[in-house]
């Protein structure tokens, strides 16, 4: 059953996490369901917190992908600087060609363009990657900070969920103890009534 359909859910009153156009809603929902399945009869508040936790995990995925994209961006920039591939129309064609070249889907022309640029710059692909890493270090550090922030957020949410779980168990235990005391008291009352001389 989808989370939104559960009775007394807090989620309809909160804005839902948005996905990027190329992301899978099914994958996002299955992550949420697997997290919820780890909780034993979660309360609506716990479900709301788990939903935020799932979003944080999703952000970690996005930012991890961004780290690789940052490297590619820097590689394209270095290639256009190093070789004779400076194009008055911009180096976006080179970026696209490099992207295809790295994921192995480059056309003949694109591969030739990249190889020519590497030769012009007297570089190998691994050299280029190392230099790009150095070049993009500032931005990669920023993405690392963003990932770290999501880890911290997850830790906070985890503590919140634990405290709700502990609270509900505590309430249950106190209810049981109270019921036990009441039953003991009532037994005592019955006994003391019985002891009264008629």
């Amino acid at each position: 059953m989808p989370v939104q359909d559960k009775p007394k859910s807090l989620l309809p009153f909160l804005s839902s996490p948005k996905l990027l156009p190329d992301e899978s809603e099914a994958e996002f929902q299955s992550g949420l369901q697997s997290l919820l399945s780890e909780l034993d009869n979660p309360s609506p508040l716990a479900v709301a917190l788990v939903s935020q936790l799932n979003e944080s995990l999703w952000w970690i995925k996005r930012h991890t992908k961004d780290k690789e994209l940052l490297l590619h961006e820097a590689m394209a920039r270095l290639l256009s600087k190093a070789g004779s591939n400076w194009m008055p129309s911009g180096n976006s064609a080179l970026s696209v060609a490099l992207e295809h070249y790295l994921d192995g889907s480059a056309h003949k022309d694109e591969a030739a363009l990249i190889e020519q640029a590497l030769t012009d710059g007297n570089l190998t692909l691994s050299d280029l990657r190392v230099r790009a890493f150095k070049d993009a270090a500032r931005h990669i550090k920023m993405v690392d900070d963003l990932i770290h922030r999501q880890h911290q957020t997850i830790r906070h949410l985890q503590r919140g969920i634990d405290s709700i779980d502990y609270k509900s168990r505590l309430i249950k235990r106190m209810d049981l103890e109270l019921a036990a005391l009441e039953s003991k008291q009532s037994v005592k009352g019955v006994l003391s009534l019985d002891d009264k001389p008629s």
Binding site: L45, Q52, R77, M142, H156
Partner: protein, 174 residues
């Protein structure tokens, strides 16, 4: 239609002569230019129907009235931050490809031609070229779209930290 290099440079030179908005509506519009995400404004959750519904639902879990109010406000505030985070991430400052890739040195004759009707000296042309070169350096330092969205999102870290700390505290103390 692509604007020619010459036309684009002329537009930018003319834009430098602008002294800002003159009309009342123009000034009102430009006063909102620096408004990026609105997270510095004080949210008025208490009057919203979502807030009241959340408070009622949380109260059923055995939290005190104060805790319910804190948790509901914390949740709404955290969502507000995360929505702004998403918006910032998905709409970074666009890359000015013209400025990034322009060959400033090769544009000197165009600057000269553009400035000559006003009787400009070579010094003016040099200053104009230096100005464009500095703008280009700034543009290149910002990097591509991924670098920009990372840098923009990075600015919202403190709002996230405060938002989640407030929510977590409200839940644990409730």
């Amino acid at each position: 239609m692509t604007i020619s290099h010459r036309r684009s440079l002329a537009n930018r030179c003319n834009a430098l002569k602008s002294t800002g908005p003159k009309s009342v509506s123009g000034k009102r519009a430009s006063s909102q230019n620096s408004l990026k995400h609105g997270l510095n404004s004080v949210p008025g959750f208490e009057s919203s129907s979502e807030y009241r519904a959340l408070v009622e639902l949380i109260a059923e879990e055995g939290f005190s009235a104060f805790a319910c109010a804190d948790i509901a406000a914390g949740l709404l505030n955290y969502r507000r931050v995360m929505d702004a985070y998403y918006d910032t991430y998905t709409s970074p400052e666009p890359v000015d490809e013209f400025l990034r890739d322009a060959n400033v040195r090769a544009s000197n004759p165009i600057f000269r031609e553009l400035l000559s009707p006003s009787g400009s000296e070579p010094q003016d042309v040099r200053e104009m070229a230096a100005f464009f070169a500095s703008m280009q350096r700034q543009e290149r330092r910002k990097g591509g779209p991924v670098s920009r969205r990372s840098a923009d999102s990075h600015k919202l870290i403190r709002y996230q930290r405060n938002g989640i700390a407030r929510l977590s505290r409200a839940v644990r103390q409730g």
